[in-house]
Amino acid sequence: MTLFLQVLANGLVLGGLYACIAAGFSLVWGVLNVINILHGSFIVLGAYVAYFAYVALGIHPFVSVVLAGGVLFVLGYLLQTGVINRVVGAPVLTTLILTFGLDLLLNNAMLVAFKADYRKINLANPLGVVDLGGVFLPLDRVAAMALALLLTGGLYWLLNASRVGRAIVAVRMDREAALLMGVDVPRIYAVTFGLGAVMAGAAGSLLALIFPISPLAGTLYLGKAFVVCVLGGLGSVTGAIVGGLALGVVESFSALVFGPEHALTVSFALLVMLLVVRPTGIVGRRGYE
């Protein structure tokens, strides 16, 4: 029983992190209809910001979330206005290949700047582990997960309660109607992309404490973001949370049942099956496929 509970706990904690990784990606995909291949690299960049902030200035990675978010927002906004805005209406292939090319650029830049060596933040006072009747919960993961959910919740609040947020939702629902209502669509696109980048940077900052950091990790995060989005449904924050938690739990249990080597295969196979049967995901709505 403890084994079951532990595996479940592992999955949920992991799932919270996955949700944070995917939230920004889902937003950009849902609103701009752009698959942002740069997302993984954004996360890594956020992690580096946190790493250097810690090593040079002693800033705790949880605090660096703000810093990383800020840096990434600027980068994302600029990238969108300068480059991506010009292909927003273009076919799927064009945007995919474009963001792929941009990602090659960013990744190479990071490799040259930071080298491929794996780095890790080791806190002088680690948060430790809590033992709940045989189920161990590493506090740094739990804290990261809590913060991740908080951030995602913040995004949700932003989308529903602020003017900019409402404008974003309006553009997602019907671009033409939003235009007619006086929404500055290109600016909203830029803000959305920027927000997506913020979520990525923030996620990176949180993850810096948990995973080794290197430009090479970007693709792995991107892969997870994909699966979470399809699982949970596009463009909605709830979708990212549901999808993330679902993926975390599925991976955790399939590693137990099928063996760790098959965990990846199972999640991918699940993804394909879902795409075939219910492409809109658990929470999503029709019309995006």
Partner: protein, 403 residues
């Protein structure tokens, strides 16, 4: 009209890309011996590729300082020809061919790791160019019956056997072993060797699972290990995997009498990234700066090698760097023994070589893999890897207990 332009453009591009391969003017009068080395200078394996390069460069500097390699009555300076295969194995194969057929290198040093070494060895075998591998230990690499491939790492069992002996001997109550291996040529192969070594000594392997390349989370596997309560945990992978696994073991409250990890603890990056949790982790490798050997090679003794390395690079060498330098040293000894650069004769000289070098005693088996090394076992104590076997160079004893 546009189509013609396009074809012209395409042709021009192709030609300009190809032009560098056309033979240039004859090289300077200085006699040079060219050694090709395709390396992963960019991409995921670049840290290791750069280590190999440092090892080669140090050897080249020393040998040229001494006047070059003696070939019969002449002396030849050594020239390394490097190419970057971007951590992409098919490219490594492509480059091996380019180095041999276009750059006309006389000899080849293998790319990094068992997989790429194996893939590229087909090329050098076809061309009959003696090739020495600095970082390939799995017997599967040498199982194609090739005659021109030689390797400086002994088979994986030579790491697991002494480890198993020490653990069985020093840790009285060890009965159960758990093995977690990355699903990749070398990590999996050595995981399987560990299983054999453990079973041979009557230990029970209570867990043996593989994890996929690119696994971000090992919690499930580690939770299962915890449930099995082994006294000895053996994890294999590359440095990023092991850093993560060690951390997650601590996260999930897993402790054991002995925790062994291959191959990461030898690098200082492991201790740096893992911090205090690296303490008492054991590992094994094919060389350690604490060993002491003396021989007729250009470095002379292990201490001298360490000193020279430290002077140039400001750090203590690890086994990858030493192995790369060893490739150079071994090649040199073979050429000097053969008295010629003729590939066939050098190959035969390599096959029959019996010498001691700063790296250790060198003798190759029938498959081309070295058989004469006694790989040291070490443990991280006080944040640094410390040798605990073989007895001749031991610096400390095994400390039991990893939290």
């Amino acid at each position: 009209m546009a189509t013609v332009l396009v074809w012209a453009l395409a042709l021009a591009v192709v030609l300009s890309g190809v032009a560098p391969t056309l033979p240039g003017p004859a090289a300077a009068a200085d006699k040079a011996l060219r050694v090709g080395a395709p390396l992963p200078l960019t991409g995921p394996l670049s840290p290791e590729g750069l280590k190999q390069k440092r090892g080669y460069d140090l050897w080249v500097a020393e040998v040229n300082k001494a006047g070059g390699i003696k070939v019969g009555g002449d002396r030849y300076k050594v020239e390394m020809v490097y190419n970057d295969y971007q951590s992409n194995t098919p490219r490594a194969v492509q480059l091996a061919e380019k180095l041999i057929s276009d750059d006309k290198v006389n000899f080849l040093f293998s790319p990094f790791g068992s997989g790429a070494t194996k893939a590229a060895s087909g090329v050098s075998e076809k061309y009959g160019i003696p090739t020495i591998a600095a970082t390939a230990s799995s017997e599967e690499v040498y199982n194609q019956g090739y005659k021109y491939l030689f390797g400086t790492f002994t088979p994986n069992a030579t790491l697991t056997e002494p480890l198993a002996d020490i653990v069985k001997g020093k840790v009285g109550d060890v009965k159960k072993v758990a093995i977690l291996a990355r699903n990749d040529l070398f990590p999996l192969a050595i995981g399987q060797e560990m299983e054999k070594s453990a079973k041979k000594r009557g230990l029970e392997v209570v867990f043996f699972e593989k994890y996929a390349i690119g696994t971000l989370d090992h919690a499930s596997a580690i939770t299962q290990i915890r449930a099995a309560r082994p006294q000895w945990i053996f994890a294999t992978g590359y440095i990023n995997d092991l850093i993560l696994i060690r951390k997650q073991m601590a996260d999930l409250g897993v402790s054991a009498a002995v925790v062994t990890m291959i191959a990461g603890p030898a690098y200082k990056e492991f201790a740096e990234a893992t911090g205090p949790r690296a303490e008492n982790v054991t590992s094994a490798a094919w060389w350690h700066p604490a060993v002491r050997y003396k021989g007729p090679d250009v470095f002379g003794t292990t201490e001298n090698y360490n000193k020279l390395y430290q002077a140039v690079y400001g750090a203590v060498p690890d086994y990858v760097e030493a192995s790369a330098s060893a490739c150079g040293v071994i090649l040199q000894l073979a050429i000097e023994k053969a008295g010629t650069m003729d590939p066939r004769k050098v190959r035969d000289a390599l096959a029959s070589l019996d010498a001691t070098t700063f790296f250790g005693p060198v003798r190759f088996g029938p498959t081309g893999q070295i058989v004469s090394l006694e790989p040291p076992v070490f443990q991280i104590q006080g944040g640094k890897p410390v040798v605990i076997y073989p007895v001749a160079v031991k610096q400390s004893d095994l400390r039991i207990g990893v939290k």
